[in-house]
Symmetry: D2
Amino acid sequence: MAAMLAVHTVEVRAETVAIVGGTIIDGNGGALVRDGVIVIENERISAIGGRSTPIPRDARRIAAAGKYIMPGLMDANVHLVLDFVPYTLIRYEGRYDELAIEAAQIALRNGVTTVFDSWGPRQYLVKARDAINEGRVPGSRVYLAGNIVGLGGPFSEDFWGQLVDRKNIPAFENVADRLDALWEENVGPNLVMMTPEQVRKEIRDYTARGINFLKYAATTHNGRAAQYIQFSPRAQQAIVEEAHRAGITVQTHTSSVEGLRLAVEAGVDLLQHCETTGPQPIPPELLALIVERRVPCAIFPNTTKAEAWYTARAEAATFFERYKIIDTNQRALLRTGAVILLATDGGVFSENTLQWSWLRNRYPPEENLVTLGEGHFHWLRAVEQKGMKPMDALLAATRNIARAYKVDRDLGTLEKGKLADLLILDRNPLETAANYPSISLIMKAGRIIDRDALPTQSLLTAPR
Amino acid sequence: MAAMLAVHTVEVRAETVAIVGGTIIDGNGGALVRDGVIVIENERISAIGGRSTPIPRDARRIAAAGKYIMPGLMDANVHLVLDFVPYTLIRYEGRYDELAIEAAQIALRNGVTTVFDSWGPRQYLVKARDAINEGRVPGSRVYLAGNIVGLGGPFSEDFWGQLVDRKNIPAFENVADRLDALWEENVGPNLVMMTPEQVRKEIRDYTARGINFLKYAATTHNGRAAQYIQFSPRAQQAIVEEAHRAGITVQTHTSSVEGLRLAVEAGVDLLQHCETTGPQPIPPELLALIVERRVPCAIFPNTTKAEAWYTARAEAATFFERYKIIDTNQRALLRTGAVILLATDGGVFSENTLQWSWLRNRYPPEENLVTLGEGHFHWLRAVEQKGMKPMDALLAATRNIARAYKVDRDLGTLEKGKLADLLILDRNPLETAANYPSISLIMKAGRIIDRDALPTQSLLTAPR
Amino acid sequence: MAAMLAVHTVEVRAETVAIVGGTIIDGNGGALVRDGVIVIENERISAIGGRSTPIPRDARRIAAAGKYIMPGLMDANVHLVLDFVPYTLIRYEGRYDELAIEAAQIALRNGVTTVFDSWGPRQYLVKARDAINEGRVPGSRVYLAGNIVGLGGPFSEDFWGQLVDRKNIPAFENVADRLDALWEENVGPNLVMMTPEQVRKEIRDYTARGINFLKYAATTHNGRAAQYIQFSPRAQQAIVEEAHRAGITVQTHTSSVEGLRLAVEAGVDLLQHCETTGPQPIPPELLALIVERRVPCAIFPNTTKAEAWYTARAEAATFFERYKIIDTNQRALLRTGAVILLATDGGVFSENTLQWSWLRNRYPPEENLVTLGEGHFHWLRAVEQKGMKPMDALLAATRNIARAYKVDRDLGTLEKGKLADLLILDRNPLETAANYPSISLIMKAGRIIDRDALPTQSLLTAPR
Amino acid sequence: MAAMLAVHTVEVRAETVAIVGGTIIDGNGGALVRDGVIVIENERISAIGGRSTPIPRDARRIAAAGKYIMPGLMDANVHLVLDFVPYTLIRYEGRYDELAIEAAQIALRNGVTTVFDSWGPRQYLVKARDAINEGRVPGSRVYLAGNIVGLGGPFSEDFWGQLVDRKNIPAFENVADRLDALWEENVGPNLVMMTPEQVRKEIRDYTARGINFLKYAATTHNGRAAQYIQFSPRAQQAIVEEAHRAGITVQTHTSSVEGLRLAVEAGVDLLQHCETTGPQPIPPELLALIVERRVPCAIFPNTTKAEAWYTARAEAATFFERYKIIDTNQRALLRTGAVILLATDGGVFSENTLQWSWLRNRYPPEENLVTLGEGHFHWLRAVEQKGMKPMDALLAATRNIARAYKVDRDLGTLEKGKLADLLILDRNPLETAANYPSISLIMKAGRIIDRDALPTQSLLTAPR
C-alpha cells in the first residue's frame, strides 16, 4: 500500500494562499466578517480580517465572494475501524491501518478535518494516525484512544460475544482471541477485577503507548436492560489521575444514571453519549452538576426521520425504547446550556455488513448518524430540529471539541497562528443546517484537499 | 398438605425436661461443664449448670452421661428452594412452600435447628416459615430474605439465562416471566438502572413484605470472569439505611475485591462468601478493615477432598481457578481473626437435577457443601483442615450467626432464658469435627425431634 | 379422575328412539329422503326410510321437521395430545390420557363423532380410547396409531429438537428422554438404520400393542427445505406387510414427490397430507396412479382467509412458500377425482402455548385448520372454496373415511345395522358448507350427547 | 502465484531414463522381478523386464540395486480443499486453487502420484487440476468430482450448519451463501425434492462442467444417529445413467445399510466408505452382492493406535461407537474378497483449525488417516493389522484404483506403454507396510520429483 499511496503524498513546497471576499465565521461565536481575507502560510493562518487585511504579493488568491468560510468540522467520536465483524476482520487481518485511512479519508472528503477515534485496535490506529498526521497520506487529522479501558475486543461479551459464543463458530476460538487482543492489550475486562492500585499500574503502562487521550468504561457496554458499574470510585480516581499525569484528557463510556454521576465525580474531561441513561432520564441535580462543572458532553442526536424509525420499533424491544429517554436527555442538555460536542460514533461498513439482517433491524436506513461521511451533517440537522441555536451548533462541531480535547491551541477556530483547517461553503450554514453539505473547498493545514481523489484506496467502500 | 402435615404438629402440653449428666458446651467459648444439668420449661432453658443445679420434681430426665450437649447448629446461608430448573419449577408450581418445608426438615433432621434463607421466592418462603415457626409443621427454624435485591429470577441473565435464552425453549417465555416474577417482585434487575432515591422507595416497600433480613447484590451474579458493581455507593447507602430503618439486618452478595470493599463501606451487617473475590485475593488493608469493623463473614470452605476435585479442573476454566483464591482468602480470614459464620449455600436437588451433566461438571460428587443436610458437617471439617480452632469453629456455627443476624437474645447459646435449641452428641465435637454427626438427640424449642419422621413429605427426595 | 367422570357414564337402559320428519342425507351420495324416519335401537339404526317407515310404539320421537340428518362427522387425522411443549408435558406428566379425553370431548361437542389419532403417546391414548369406546366417559370415538414409525418424540430432531438442543435446557436431558420414549417406544428413529428384516420384527411387536392402525414416516418430518426418504422400498414393503398381517390399515407421512410415490408403490391404505410435496407439485403420472389405485388422500385445505395469511408471509420463508404448491396439489386432486378425506391435524393448545411467539408466527389466527372443534368446519368451507361438490365434501367427511380405515361395517353412513352416529342440523349442509355448524343435536351410538357438559374436565382449555 | 510457480514448470526436453538393478513390483500381483530394468521415454514406460532388457544408449541410468520399484500410490478419496472453516475460506477466498495445489504437492511429495478429489469447490479444483495435469505446476495428478450431488456447501446443514446456524454469526449469512454456492452449483440439496426427470436434467448439465467422475449422496451426511435416503431408486437410476452417458464413472456417499444396498442396486462404479453403515453391520447377503458384482469399495481403516483412541471415547457418543461396526465391516470386506481401494478422506488443515477443540475431540492426534501426506501410510499399516495380504494391499493402493476409476489404460501398474508413475523404495513394502515410507525417489510421468521443493507455496502449512 505504501507505494500506492505515495503518489498522493508527494512533498510540494508550501505556497502562500489568500482566501478573499467571503464571509468569515471564525468559530468564536462572534459577528461574521463580510468580505473577509484569510492568509495562509506554512500550514497556518498568518492573517485574518476584513477586506483591508494585507495580502502577500506572491499569495495565490482564492475568490470566495458570496461564500462562507468556517473552521473545519470535527467529530468527537468516530471509530475508524468499525466494521468489526468476522468476515471483515479476517479478510483484512494485518491491514486495519488501511481500513482506518480509508475511513479518515471519507471523513475528510466530507468536511471533517479532525476526528477523535474513541475505540479501536490501537497499534493499527497509531500507524494510520502517523501516516496521516505526518503527511504521508491524506486524511482527516486523527487523535486516538485505542481501547475503551475495561472493555473486551470485538468477540468478547461486550460486543458480538453477546450474540454468539465464539466457541460455536467453527475453528474461531483462537482467531477471536487473537483479534480481541488487538483491541484489549493490557486494558481489557481483566481490569474490572483488579484493585485500584493494579488498575493504576496498567493505565500508566497504556498511556505510554502513543495514545492521544484515554477512555474508560464507567459502566458496561451491551444490549441488556441492566447496565452495571465497571469501576469503583477509587478505581476511576486512579484512572483519571494517571491520564492526567500522562498529560492527556480522559473520557468515559457510561450507560446509566449512576454511571454518569460517578464519571462526573471522578473528574473526567469529556462524557461520551451522556444522554444514554437507560430507562431513567438524567436527574435534575446531576444535570445541574454537569452544566456547572462545564463537563463537555458528546451527544448523538438523531434527526426527526431517524427517530421516527426508532419510535416505530419502540414497542418491540428495550433497545428501541431507550431512544425516548435519549431524546429527553438531549433536549434537557441543550436547554440547560451544557457544553455540547458533535459526535457520531461514525464508521465505514462494507456492503456485506450493511446487508446483515441484525444490523438492518437496528440501524435506520436513512439519516443514520453512524454513517461516516454523512453522520455529521445529520447531527447538525438533528440539533437544529431539537432547537439548538445555529451558532451554538457550529461551535459544538468545532471550537468546543478542540477545547474539550485540549487541542485548541492549534485547532477549532480561524485565528492567526492556528492551523488552517477550514471549509468554504456555498451557502450560509447559520441560516439552515441543510447548508453544511454545500462544501466548495476543503483546506487542511493549508492544503487544498482533492476531494475526488478520496479515498485513495477502496477496501470496504469498493462497489461489489 | 396442611391436613397431612397436621398429624405431626399435634399440640402437646409442654412438659418439663432435664438433661442430666452430660458435658455442656454452652456456646460462649468458655470452659466445658462436666456432669452438667440443663432444665427446659416452656420451650426455654430455665436452668443450666453443674451437677448441683436443682431439677424440678416433675421433670422428665434425659440421661446424658458420656455425651456432649451443644447449641443447635445454624446455617447462615441456605436456599430452601434451590432446585430451580424448569422441570422442578413447573412440576411443583404453586407448591414451593412444600419444597421449602421438605428442605427445612432435612436440615433439622441433621442437627441444623435454624437456617437463614438468603434467596428464594419470598411469598412461598413466608408461607413455609410461618408454618414452621408457628409450630404447624416441624422443620428448622426459618429466617428469610426473599430475593437478592438487584438480581433477576431463575431464568434471568443472572441465573440460567446465562446458559440458555428462554426464547429458545418452546412456549416458555410466558412461563419464565411468571416464575421469575416470583423471585424478583419489585426488587429485581430494574433497580440497577434507578437513582438512589428510586431504589430507596422500592426497598422500603419490600421490607414491609414479611422478610427477616435484606440481601442485596453489590456485584453481579454470574459465571463470567468480570464481575461488575450493581449499585453505586449512594444506592448502597440507601439500601442499608432502609433496611435498618425497618429494623432488620442487611447483607450482601459480592464477587470482586472492589465490590467487597464497597459493601463494607456501605455498613452492611454481614458479608456472604466474602472470600469470593475472583482472581485477586482480598488486599491486606481491606482484610484489616473487615476484621477491625468486625463485619461477620459467612464463608464457604471446601474440604480437602472437594478442593482436590476442583483443583483437578482448574486448568480447564476460570470457574475452577477461582477456588485457589477462595482458599487463600479463607485462610487469611481465619488467620486474622475475622468473625466467621458457617454457611453452605445448601439446598435440596431432585435426582433428575443431580443427573444433569452441567451440574455434575461443576459440583464435587462427594463432600459437597451445597448438599443440605450434609454441607454443615463438611463445613466444620473443612475449617478444621484449614487450621481453625475447634471452639472457634463451634462458635462460627452457633453464637456468631445468632449475633450477626441479631437473634442472639433467643438463640445461639445454651443460657438461661434462651430457646432450648440443642444437640446431644455421642462424641466430643471439640476433639475432632468428625464427631459432629454423632447426634443422639435433637431438641428444638424444648421439643425432641423425631428425626425418622423427617421429611414428612418427600417431593424432591423421593426415590424414583 | 375416574370418579369424577363416572357421573357422565351412568349406564342407562337404552331406549328406542325415532327421528321423524327431517331430510335424511344418508351418506351414500344418493338422493335425499324428505320427511324421513330413522329408528334407533340398542345403539344402532334398526330402520331408516321415508315417512312410511314403521316406528315402534315405545319409541321416543324426536321431531326433525325442517331439519337435516346426516352421519356423524369424522376426522381422518387428529392429535389428541398435541400441546407437546415442555411446560404442558411436565405439568400433566402421567395424565396425558386426561388431555386426550378433553380433546375428544371437544371434538364430539362440535359434531365429530369419530376421530383417528395419527401420532401420540400410545399408552395414554389407549387408556383414553378404552375409557371412551367402552362408554366410561363421553367423547368422540377414538382410533389410534401411536407413534409415527421412524419418527422421534417431541424433543427429538423431528420436532422441537430442530429448534433447541435439549442439552441447552437446564436439567432437561433425562426428562426429554423419558418423554420422548412415551412416543417412540420401539418404533422411533432407530428403525431408520435397520435392515428390512429388523424393521419387520419391530413392527410386528408394535402392532400387538393395541393400536388400531399403523402410520409410518416415508419421509422426514421437519421444517427444512430438503425432505429425505426414511425407509427403503424393501423396508416399506416390510412395514405394510406386517400391518396387513396384523389386520390393520397402514398409512404414511410423506413430504416429497418421491416419498409420496414410494408410499403409493408400497401399497399403503391411506396417504396423509399427500398434497405436501415441497417445492414440486405432484407430477401428472403419479397423480394418475393415486387416482387409479383409489388410494385415499387425507388433505388439509385452508380457507381463503387462512391462505391469505400464509401468502402474506410467502416471501419470507420456505415454510410459507409451500402453501402455494399445496393449493395446486389440492386442486389437482379434487379435479382428477381422487378419494378425498377430511383431516385437520387438529389438537388442543393451552393459552400459554397459543401465546408463544414462534407458534403465532406460523399459524393463522383465524380459520385455523388445526384448532380441534373448529378445524373440520374450516375444512368443509375450504374445499367448497376450491370447487369440490357439496355431496363429495360430505362423503369426504363421513363414508370415505370409514371405508379408508375399514370401519364402514359400523360407521360412515346412515344405514340399517350401523351405529347410530348422526347429526341433526338446522340448515342444509349441501346448500353451503357454512351450514355445517348449525348443529341442533348430536347422537353417538344412539345416545344424545349433552354438548354443554363437554368437556367434563378443562385442563388445557381452562380459562386462566 | 502463476509467476512464482512458473519456475518449477520450465519445459525441459524429456530425456530417456533407465532404472537398473532394483526389484520390480509391477502392480499386477505376480512374482517380483529381481535385478530388473525399466526404461522410460517420453513420460511412458518403453520397456520393463529382467536384467536382459535392452537399455537405450543415451539413457540416463538410475541405479536401484537393493531397492524396490513399485507403481506410484493412488488415493481414491481426498479433498484438496478440506479446511473449509470460516477463517480459512474467508482468508483465501478466490485462491482455493492455490490451496488445492498445495495439497496435491504434499500428496505427491509423499509418494501419492494420483489423487481423486471427491468433494470440493469445482471451479477451483478444475483450475488446480488443469495447472497440474497440463504440467504448469508440480503436484499429484488430480481427478475431481466437484460437489457430492445432493449435498450442500460447507455451511449448510450437511456440514457446519449442524453445529452453528449461519444466522448466528455476525454478518455471515451472505458470505455463507456465496461460499456454499461454490460447492453446490446446480447439484445441491435442492435436487432432493425433485422428480427423477428433473434430477436427470441437472446431472446432465453438471457432467458438462469438466468433472472427471460423479459422486452422489445416496444417504445424508451429518453426525446424527439416523441417516436418511437422499434419492429414490428412480432418481439414483437417473443419476447413474447420466454419468455413464457422459462417459464418466459414478460413485456414492452412503451411511446406512439400506443406503448402501440401494447404491449397489443402482449400479454405481465405486462405493466410498462402504463400511460406514451406522449401528448395523453390512448384512451377509449384501456383502455377498458387493463381492459378486465386484463393486470397488474404498475403505477408511484406522490403525490399532487410532482405533484405540476412538474406542476410549466410545461410551461417550454415538459418533465414536460407530467405529466398532466400521471395523467389523472392514474385516468382513477383507475376508470375503471384496475389491478394496485405498482411500483416506485426506486433506490439509491449518494450524488454527488443528487447534480447534471440536476437531481435537473427534480426530485422533496420531496416525490420523485424514492427514494428507501421511494418511496413505497409515492406511497400509491399518489393513496389514487387520490381516490383508501385503500384495493385496499394494494392489488396493494402485491397480484397483486405476481400474475402478477406469484410468488403467495409463495408470496403476508398471507396464510398457503406461505413464511412468513410480516409486523407488529403500525397503520391501511387501515385507512390512512400515517400509512404504522409505521412499528414495518419486517419478511422475517420467519426471523425477524434487521432493524438497514441495510444496512450492505454503499457505495452510506455513509455520506460524
